[in-house]
Amino acid sequence: MATSTFGTKPAAAPSAGSTLGPGITVEGEISGTDPLVVQGTVKGQVRVQNAVTVDAGAVVEADVEATELRVLGALAGNCVASERLEVAAAGRLIGNVRAPRIAIAEGAAFKGQIDMDVP
């Protein structure tokens, strides 16, 4: 329990973003402006005006729109990253990708089309 002065309830912590832990499954659409970390399963659509991380162990079957997309788990879907896409060595990405900057680490699995000609 955080210490509080004058017996008031401590103010809610500023939003540190969204985390979907390993035991969480979402079927539907996730949208917003918070950074998102997926460690569980997401099927559907993700549209976030912030960084999205598909963490190790995560399974995402969704079209993903983000500013910055990092794939350390498994992602199947078409991706648009307005700034940057990174597929880490353990990452697996199947889908068409559009981003101005793309990094694919050695050992990563990727199948799809890449379009870096982003206006």
């Binding site: 939003s15 035991g23 969480i24 079927e27 918070d34 998102l36 559907g44």
Partner: protein
């Protein structure tokens, strides 16, 4: 990351659809659809959930519209605004909470 907060929906995040899981989930943002959680669901002040909710237990500080089935416990804090039906083994409604709907504490 706080291990008791295995899952968090941020204040500026909206989830539309079906959410399932077995780890505690804290909502600061918005959920529309359904939630099935074999753990504690916490709806924080400022959060809005419009969903049918099936959980182990539930704590509401924010706004919830929908039907709730809790295997164990439901707590509506003084800032809670809840519309819908509640079914729970144990129920706590704090002074100041607003609730409109039906309550069923029968152990069927």
């Amino acid at each position: 990351m706080n291990p008791s907060d295995a899952a968090t929906i941020g204040a500026n995040t909206t989830v539309v659809g079906a959410l399932r899981g077995d780890v505690p989930l804290t909502v600061h943002g918005r959920i529309e659809g359904s939630v099935q959680l074999q753990a504690l669901l916490t709806i924080e002040a400022g959060a809005t959930v419009e969903a049918d909710v099936e959980v182990a237990s539930l704590t509401v500080h924010g706004t919830l519209t929908g039907n709730v089935v809790a295997a164990d416990r439901v707590t509506l804090s003084r800032s809670a605004r809840v519309t819908g039906s509640l079914r729970a083994k144990r129920l706590q409604i704090e002074d100041g909470a607003r609730f409109q709907g039906k309550i069923d504490m029968d152990e069927a």
